[in-house]
Symmetry: C2
Subunit: 432 residues, 2 copies
C-alpha cells in the first residue's frame, strides 16, 4: 500500500472575533492548523496530521513541508511504519534546514504535522485507534520507532524498556479503568483574558453545573485585575474545586516571583508559564521563591532537549506536553518516559485545533504504559470542535476514550473549503 500524494492546507478559523484564546500576550488568536493529508493507493486509507498555530505564520509551516513531503511519496505504509525513527531523523536533522531550527519553531511545527499524519495513517492501516495500536505493539518494537537522540544523560533505552515492562503487568486493569471512566480534564474555556466578568461568571456557573472541578484563569496584564478575577472565580467555585492561573510568559523572573506571591492566597493548584518558555533556570529560581506554589509549563516548550532539562532540574511541577509543537509521539513518548522516571505528573495542553483529539490518545498511553504518578488530568476547551469529524467527547469532566481508527484529528471537508487561507470562501470575502 503506497503513499501516492500528500497535500498541505493552511486552515484558519476567525476565532479572534470572539476573543477565544486570548491571554496576556496572545490578544487576537485565529486558531489555525497546518493540515497534512496523506493519500494512499487505497481511496479509503489516508492519514491526516495537524500542527496548531494561531494565525499568521501558519503559511510558513505549510511552506516548510514542501521540503519533507517528497521523501514519503512512493513509500509503502509498512515501510513508513518500520522506518519511523530514521525518517523522523532525516526530517528533524535535515542538513540545510536544521540551520533555521534545529528542532524548534516553524520547522519543528511542520515536522510535527507530518508525523502526526504518519502515525494516524499507520494506526488506520491497522484499523485501530492510535492508543490501541501503540498498546498492542511489542515493547522493543515500540521503542525502536521513537527518538532517544540527545537524551542518554537522563534516560537510557534500557530504563525506558524497564518502565514500560513494569506497567505491562497492570495494563488490562488500567485500560479497563479508562474505557469505563474516561480520563479527567479541566477547562480553560471560562477564563480567557478578553472575557468580561459577566461572561466569566456565566460560563463558570455553567461549567460547574456540567460537573467540572478544575478551572483555569488567564492573568498577566494587570495584577490588580488578576487579583479581582481570581477572587471572583474562587468565590464561584468554592474551596473544594481547583483554581489554576496562566500568565502566558508575560513576566520576567523577578516579576513572576512578586506577582505569584500576591496571587497565592487564592490557593492555586498551579501557575502556568509565568515567564519565558526557554528559561529553565528562571523557572527554578521562581520555584525557589514562592513557597509551595507549583509551576506548570510546556505548550511552548520547543523539544525534548528543553523538557529533559526542565524535568531533571526540577524546574516544573506539571508537564504540559503539546502534541503539535513536539514532533509527534516519536518525540513525546520519550519525554513522558523521562517524566515517569522523575515521577512528574503530566497535564497535556489542549484546546486550539485538534489538540484535545490528540491528547486523548497520549493520556491513555501515558496512564497504561508509562507513568506511575497518581495525578490524572488533562486540559480541555471545546474550541473548533464543530470543524472536526470526530471531536473529543466529554462526560462528567472526563474525556471519553475514542474507539475509531487513527489519531482522531480530521478536519471536515466543508470546513477546509470554507476556511482555507486565503482562498477559502470565508477569507475570500473577508473585509480587513
Amino acid at each position: 500500500m503506497k503513499i501516492k500524494n500528500i497535500t498541505v492546507h493552511d486552515i484558519r478559523f476567525p476565532t479572534s472575533l470572539q476573543n477565544l484564546g486570548t491571554d496576556a500576550v496572545h490578544v487576537d488568536c485565529d486558531y489555525s492548523a497546518t493540515y497534512v493529508k496523506i493519500y494512499t493507493e487505497d481511496p479509503k486509507l489516508n492519514g491526516t496530521g495537524i500542527s496548531f498555530t494561531i494565525g499568521k505564520g501558519n503559511e510558513l509551516c505549510v511552506s516548510a513541508l514542501a521540503h519533507f513531503t517528497p521523501l514519503f511519496l512512493g513509500r509503502t505504509v509498512s515501510e513508513v511504519e518500520a522506518e519511523m525513527a530514521s525518517l523522523w531523523k532525516q526530517c528533524t536533522n535535515h542538513s540545510q534546514l536544521r540551520w533555521v531550527g534545529p528542532e524548534k519553531g516553524v520547522i519543528h511545527l511542520a515536522v510535527a504535522s507530518l508525523f502526526n499524519g504518519l502515525w494516524d495513517l499507520v494506526s488506520k492501516f491497522h484499523n485501530k485507534p492510535l492508543w490501541q495500536y501503540i498498546l498492542d505493539l511489542g515493547d522493543e518494537e515500540f521503542l525502536q520507532k521513537l527518538t532517544f537522540s540527545y537524551l542518554d544523560d537522563v534516560i537510557s533505552e534500557e530504563e525506558a524498556l524497564r518502565i514500560i515492562r513494569g506497567k505491562r503487568v497492570q495494563l488490562n486493569a488500567s485500560r479497563q479503568d479508562i474505557l469505563e471512566n474516561g480520563f479527567p480534564c479541566y477547562t480553560t474555556a471560562a477564563g480567557w483574558l478578553g472575557y468580561s466578568d459577566e461572561k466569566m461568571t456565566n460560563l463558570t456557573n455553567e461549567y460547574l453545573k456540567q460537573g467540572w472541578t478544575h478551572f483555569k484563569v488567564k492573568v498577566g496584564q494587570d495584577i490588580d485585575r488578576d487579583i479581582k478575577r481570581c477572587a471572583l472565580i474562587r468565590e464561584l467555585i468554592g474551596c473544594e474545586n481547583k483554581l489554576m492561573v496562566d500568565a502566558n510568559q508575560i513576566w520576567s523572573v523577578n516579576e513572576s516571583i512578586e506577582n505569584i506571591n500576591l496571587l497565592k492566597e487564592f490557593d492555586l493548584y498551579f501557575v502556568e508559564e509565568p515567564t519565558h518558555p526557554d528559561d529553565i533556570l528562571g523557572f527554578k529560581k521562581i520555584k525557589n521563591s514562592i513557597n509551595d506554589v507549583k509551576l506548570a509549563t510546556g505548550e511552548m516548550c520547543q523539544n525534548r532537549i528543553l523538557f529533559k532539562q526542565f524535568i531533571e532540574h526540577k524546574a516544573l511541577d506539571f508537564l504540559q506536553i503539546d502534541s503539535c509543537r513536539l514532533a509527534s509521539i516519536s518525540e513525546i513518548i520519550p519525554i513522558l518516559l523521562i517524566a515517569s522516571k522523575f515521577d512528574i505528573p503530566v497535564i497535556a495542553h489542549a484546546g486550539g485545533v485538534g489538540l484535545c483529539e490528540y491528547v486523548q490518545h497520549l493520556n491513555i498511553i501515558n496512564k497504561c504504559l508509562i507513568t506511575n504518578n497518581s495525578t490524572f488530568m488533562s486540559e480541555y476547551a471545546d474550541s473548533c470542535a464543530e470543524h472536526l469529524v470526530n471531536p473529543a467527547k466529554i462526560a462528567n469532566g472526563s474525556y471519553i476514550t475514542p474507539k475509531h481508527p487513527g489519531y482522531s484529528a480530521i478536519i471536515k471537508d466543508s470546513s477546509i473549503k470554507e476556511f482555507e487561507y486565503p482562498n477559502g470562501n470565508y477569507w475570500k470575502t473577508y473585509v480587513h
Copy 2:
C-alpha cells in the same frame, strides 16, 4: 527622511560544490542570505541587513519578513532610531507570530536580518561606522535602544550602565589600540570536514605563513579519523599555536564526554558545540567530566534567554555570539553585558555570508565599552568575500577596523543578480 520601500532577497551561493562549510552535521552547505534592503527618500541613503542560512529554509525567513516590513514603511529614520527598542519588541513579540517562535528559528532569523538592516541604516544616517555610532551615543541613550526583557534575574539595567561607565574611562586608549593593531582572529578555513588530508595540509601551511596562530578543525563523524586529523594539524602547527575542534552538535552528552576525553591529548584550546545547542545542563555535565578542557558554543544559540542561562550556569567557557541568529545588536549587546558581568570571554562566530563584516563591529564595541576580559579573539573565514562590497580585511591574523559608514554587510548588485534564488542567472540555469 522617510523609509519608502523595503525589499527582501533570497540569495544563495553554491558553496556546497567546494565542500565549504562542511562539518559533522552540515554536509552540503550553500551559504545563503536573507537579504533586506531598506530604501529612503534619499537615493544615497539605504540600509542593508543579512541573516545567514545554509540553503533550504532561507525562503521561509524571506517570507516571514512580509509580516514585519509594513510596520516600517513611511517612518522616518529618526523615529526608527528613537523607537528601536519598542519596534524590536513589536516584531519579536508579535501576538500571532510568536506562537511559531517565540524568539527562535525562522521568525527570529527574519527579525535579525531586518534589524541588522535598521542599525545599518541608522549609523549610515549619521555617516559613521556602526561601531563609531555606538561609541558616540550617550550611555543611557544606548541602553534604551536595547532589549533587557526576561533578563532581570541576571543583570539589571543599572548594572549594565555601571559596566559601560566603567569602560568609558579607558575608551580612548582601547579604541586607539584597535585602530592601530586590529582585532585578533582565528581561521576555520583549513579544517572543513569535507577536505582531504592533503588539502588540509596545504591550507594549514599556507595560513601558517600568513601569520595565523589559531586553527580550528571539524570533528564528529568518526572518532578514529578525528584523532588522525587532530594529530596531523597539531604536528603541522607545533605546540606554540592553538588548536580548537568543533563537533557541530553531533554527540549526545555521554558521547561528548567519551570523545573529548579521547581528543584532549592534543591540547585543545576549546571544544565547540559537542552536543545539542539547547542543552545548557548537558554542557555543564560535559564540562564536569573532561577535566580542564574548555567548551565553546553560541552559533546556534537561539536567543538571550538561552545565553543568560549558559553564562550564569557556567556551562560554557567561550561565548560564540552569532550576529545573524540573535536579533541584531538590540539583543547581542545585553548578552555581551552579561558575559562581562560573569567575566566570560567572547569569541564571535563568523564566516558564512556577512558574519565577518558584522563581528568586526561587535568586537570593537565589546572591547571598548563592555568586557574586562583579556581574551580578544574572533573567528574568520573568507567565504563569499567576493560577493561583498566591503569585505572584512585581515592583516597578520587580525581584523582591520572598518572606517566606512554603516554595519559593513552589503552584497554586490551583480551577485544579487546572479545568485538570487530561484530566478538569478546561476540558479535559473542550474541543473539539479
